[in-house]
Amino acid sequence: MNLEKVISGFFIILALTMNFGFFYGDPTVLEEHSRYELFAAIIINLIATIYKLGDKTQLGAVLLATSLVADIQLIGAASIWALGEYVTGMNTEVVVAIISFSGGALLANIVSVILFTGDVLKSKR
């Protein structure tokens, strides 16, 4: 058992589950989506990204790319939220944009987890 693998696997999967937790619910009703969960998703995604840095392999590069996509999507969602709350005012359009952004991040996280598990399955140990 490799401790490094445990930690990086933990953060990669936690990033996906957190992301899903925020995404799940009616996309037009903001009350069904917790702001704390979005915050946690962003932090966990950032940590997962840092764990993927510095891996020179092909797989490492693709994993890093998916993570960066998820980061951008989630930070985008948070920015839209702040914009809606303080500048334009909350309406259904803004709420849907927040949730769909996090949905995009969810897809990237799913790809990341698939690649990660694929790599684990490929190795014979």
Binding site: R35, Y36, L38, F39, I43, L46, I47, I50, L53, G54, K56, A78, W81, A82, E85, Y86
Partner: protein, 567 residues
């Protein structure tokens, strides 16, 4: 920046980034969770945006104050904790960046990436020098003045730093690396089609052999120029295909031989190496009497061949009995210190006409000369100077002839690289004998002046646009070499110049008849004045000038052609 340096940065920045994210997350979360009081006294919670905004300026020690409302004591307690947490995290990250900038590994990676970029962008032909020392420095300098680019591979980082301070006419990229690693050659661009030559002038023959071998294996089309002071290495080098093997001692021996048998050939040789075309009185070695050669090492054995061929009576003095034992039977070798008066007397110094101090120790050479002069003030003195830094002392010693090995090597290598025809001319003329040499010297002096310049060119599109175009358009036409002699201001007059040598494929012509027709692809060595060469260049490149000197009239062209409507 190359891939490697980027990865190095990312890897080093992982932990600081991790620390930064964690501390920010903890602080922001705490700020959001702890309730505050707004200006109307009602409780409220900071939004995530407020908290992020506040923590961002707090952590970076910018500090805009408490926002959006003044903090309560529970909030202040948390902020007090966060200040230390985030500021430490932030400083740690900045400290890591600063130390990364100063990191030697990273600096080396960046320097390597820069070097690779320069090599990649280099379009013009270049020469790779292995090892940077006083010799290569001067060669590079002279090549740079002639517009030939150089690349240096040097093991010692200090020397590369010294190189970067040097003020060359063209930039000289340098790489810190050991040539024993084949990767280094590859990085230096040996595979590139415009890599002309690899030059290795180490004092160590083994090293030179190594360089030649790996260079030839990596690119067999590249010219390899190496120094070899011992015959066995010289032979090995020729076998593996080194194009030019330079032995400074052989050059010395040849010069001694030439000055004894055919001084005018020596004069031409020295002139082509960059000296004036004169033979001073003190350049003439005494032809009678005995020669004493001190040192039976590499130079001594080379001199032995030269002196024997010239029919001179000679004797050796050698300090090391082992070296003396290597002498062939019948050779006279005295074992002893050459600066010892008794030994010199044993070698009949009173009767000798010339003494050659040829050891590898400059101080010993000087003291030999001093000792010899004290006994026999009329003796002709020749001393070997190993290091150029000793030049001042040698000058002060009033020695008739100082043989500077390093400057010989510099001139020879420069000729091989930048003036290959002159180098070839020197080799060919050795078979012609004194009479021929005298003729050439007379011709040069009467026809041109006491110290002519030389010029090398190729009759092709790049060097002789007008002439090669004319030759190509009209295949039947023969244009003799003497049109190059004509002057641009009056075609009936001739410039002071001479065609010394033409190479046409395998065919080689020394002092050809000027009426000979010019062929495309001819390589020509000319001697003449600077003004003459200027005219030659115009005639070769410019169709109007060419037309004028050929026909004696201005080039008549239709207006359409002048304006470029017709080709």
């Amino acid at each position: 920046m190359g891939n490697n340096s980027l990865f190095l940065i990312i890897k080093r920045m992982r932990t600081p980034m991790f620390v930064l994210v964690i501390t920010f997350a903890i602080s922001i979360l705490g700020m959001v969770l702890i309730p505050g009081v707004d200006d109307q006294g009602k409780p409220y919670h900071l939004s995530f945006f407020d908290a992020f905004y506040f923590v961002s300026y707090m952590a970076t020690t910018i500090g805009f104050g408490e926002s959006p409302y003044a903090f309560t004591y529970p909030q202040k307690l948390w902020v007090g904790f966060c200040i230390y947490l985030t500021v430490i995290g932030w400083f740690y990250a900045i400290g890591s960046i600063v130390s990364l900038v100063q990191d030697k590994v990273l600096a080396a990676q960046i320097a390597l990436a820069n070097f690779q970029r320069k090599i990649r962008k280099m379009e013009e032909p270049f020469i790779i020098f292995v090892g940077y020392n006083t010799m290569t420095r001067q060669i590079i300098d002279r090549l740079a003045h002639n517009g030939i680019r150089s690349v240096v591979i040097e093991k010692n980082e200090e020397k590369v730093k010294a190189l970067s301070l040097e003020d060359y006419a063209i930039e000289v990229p340098a790489l810190v690396g050991d040539v024993r690693d084949p990767k280094v050659f590859k990085i230096a661009g040996i595979h590139k089609h415009n890599c002309r030559a690899v030059v290795s002038l180490f004092n160590d023959d083994v090293m030179n052999l190594h360089v030649a071998l790996s260079a030839k294996l990596m690119n067999k089309h590249v010219m390899v120029v190496v120094e070899a002071t011992q015959d066995e290495y010289g032979q090995n080098l020729s076998t593996i295909g080194a194009d030019v093997v330079e032995n400074p001692f052989k050059i010395v021996a040849k010069r001694v031989y030439l000055s004894l048998t055919s001084p005018s050939l020596l004069m031409i040789e020295q002139w082509l190496y960059g000296d004036p075309l004169v033979l001073r009185k003190k350049d003439r070695l005494p032809r009678e009497g005995k020669y004493i050669v001190c040192g039976y090492g590499r130079m001594g054995t080379a001199l032995e061949v030269g002196l024997r061929r010239a029919g001179i009576d000679y004797i050796f003095i050698e300090a090391s009995p082992e070296k003396a034992a290597k002498a062939r039977s019948g050779e006279k070798v005295i074992v002893g210190d050459a600066d010892d008066k008794k030994i010199l007397l044993k070698a009949d110094i009173q009767e000798a006409s010339c003494i050659i101090a040829a050891t590898k120790d400059d101080l010993l050479n000087l003291s030999i000369i001093m000792a010899a002069k004290r006994i026999n003030p009329d003796i002709y003195t020749i001393a070997r100077e190993n290091r150029m830094t000793d030049a001042v002392v040698f000058q002060a010693a009033k020695i008739d002839r100082v043989i500077m090995l390093e400057s010989l090597m510099i001139n020879k290598t420069y000729n091989v690289l930048a003036r290959p025809l002159a180098d070839r001319f020197i080799r060919l003329m050795a078979y012609r004998g004194e009479e021929w040499g005298e003729k050439v010297v007379k011709l040069l002096k009467e026809h041109i002046n006491n110290n002519p310049e030389t010029m090398e060119t190729v009759i092709d599109e790049d060097h002789a646009y007008a002439l090669s175009r004319l030759l190509r358009e009209d295949g039947e036409r023969t244009i003799p070499y003497n049109i190059l002699y004509r002057r641009r201001d009056d075609w009936r007059l001739e410039n002071r110049m001479l065609v010394l040598y033409i190479r046409r494929g395998e065919e080689e012509m020394l002092l050809p008849d000027p009426a000979m027709p010019i062929h495309l692809g001819d390589e020509v060595l000319l001697a003449g004045t600077k003004e003459a060469f200027e005219d030659v260049e115009y005639i070769l490149e410019n169709i109007y000038e060419l037309h004028y000197v050929m026909q004696g009239s201005e080039h008549e062209l239709s207006l359409a052609r002048k304006l470029g409507f017709e080709e």
